[in-house]
């Protein structure tokens, strides 16, 4: 069967999900993902919809397997996983593709994603700034290495990029929590 392979880096799972759904609308169904490599197979235009979810643990952990099994019981297909991220596929039926259907679980899930990004951003900044610090002291004793400067700047830049991705998630959490004060 004719396959299409696309290499693409994504910062933002929400944009990635939009892209996968656009591909499906054009007749390309994601069948595999691994290290920025997306493999598609032909499908009817708009036959499938996709949903990307963040698990609590690595996708091979027993609790994650249990969860994926329960999702599959409902007719949803698990097409790929990458560390804690999973890619689900459902036959398009006109209804929105949701795994979290009440305020409680929506907030909980967004918080999990927010925690994931906060940890990642903190790591980028910590390593980035310590590299810049090393470069600073090297500057003083005349052994400055470009790697520390550019590496540091790159990591700080990635940290800032991730902050712009994480911000909408925080806004969404805040809006849902406001709603939670008066509704379940």
């Amino acid at each position: 069967m004719m396959k299409k392979v696309v290499f693409k880096p994504y910062w933002n799972y929400a944009k990635e999900e939009v892209w996968l759904n656009q591909m499906a609308k054009k007749g390309w169904a994601l069948v595999h993902y691994c290290w920025l490599k997306y493999t598609f197979e032909p499908c009817e235009k708009g036959e499938y919809v996709y949903y990307i979810d963040l698990l609590e643990k690595h996708h091979n952990a027993p609790a994650s397997r249990d969860f994926i099994e329960m999702v599959e019981e409902t007719g949803i297909k698990h097409v790929a996983s990458y560390m804690r991220w999973v890619y689900f596929q459902k036959k398009a039926d006109g209804k929105p593709f949701e795994l979290y259907t009440d305020l409680d679980s929506k907030v909980k899930q967004l918080r999990r994603i927010n925690r994931f990004w906060t940890a990642l951003i903190a790591a980028e900044f910590a390593i980035g700034f310590s590299n810049l610090g090393i470069w600073g002291t090297e500057q003083a004793d005349g052994s400055a290495m470009a790697m520390n400067l550019y590496g540091g700047l790159l990591l700080v830049f990635i940290g800032v990029m991730l902050m712009t991705v994480a911000y909408p998630v925080r806004l969404k959490i805040r809006a849902l929590m406001r709603e939670q004060k008066i509704r379940e």
Partner: protein
């Protein structure tokens, strides 16, 4: 006796009610949709999260299954039933007060 008098979420209420007779995950979703005439559709993520919390609290338990049975079934415990009965009373109070103030038929 149940430890708290706080309201249950709608999802938890219907999950407890659905597994008065043992059911597996998808069965619980179908039963909940049936109870509410399609109004409440539990997502798999919502259901999974609620089930793990309820097992931890001892309100429900997973049934031990034979090796040929792949799907996990859940059933309410005595504690879960007590919580559910208490919640039904609370809901009746809410509905009765609503009706007596706002009118409407029983």
């Amino acid at each position: 006796m149940p430890e708290s008098k706080n309201a249950l979420t709608e999802a938890v209420y219907y999950i407890l009610l659905a597994i008065v007779t043992p059911l597996h995950g998808y069965g619980i979703m179908q039963k909940t949709a049936e109870f509410s005439s399609g109004r409440v559709n539990l997502g798999a993520g919502t259901l999974y999260g609620a089930l793990s919390t309820l097992v931890q609290k001892g309100w429900i338990e997973m049934l031990v299954q034979g090796p040929e049975e792949r799907k996990k079934e859940y059933v309410i415990t005595a504690l879960g039933k007590a919580v559910l009965l208490q919640e039904i009373e609370r809901l009746e109070e809410l509905a009765a007060n609503g009706r007596s103030v706002m009118g409407g038929k029983r």
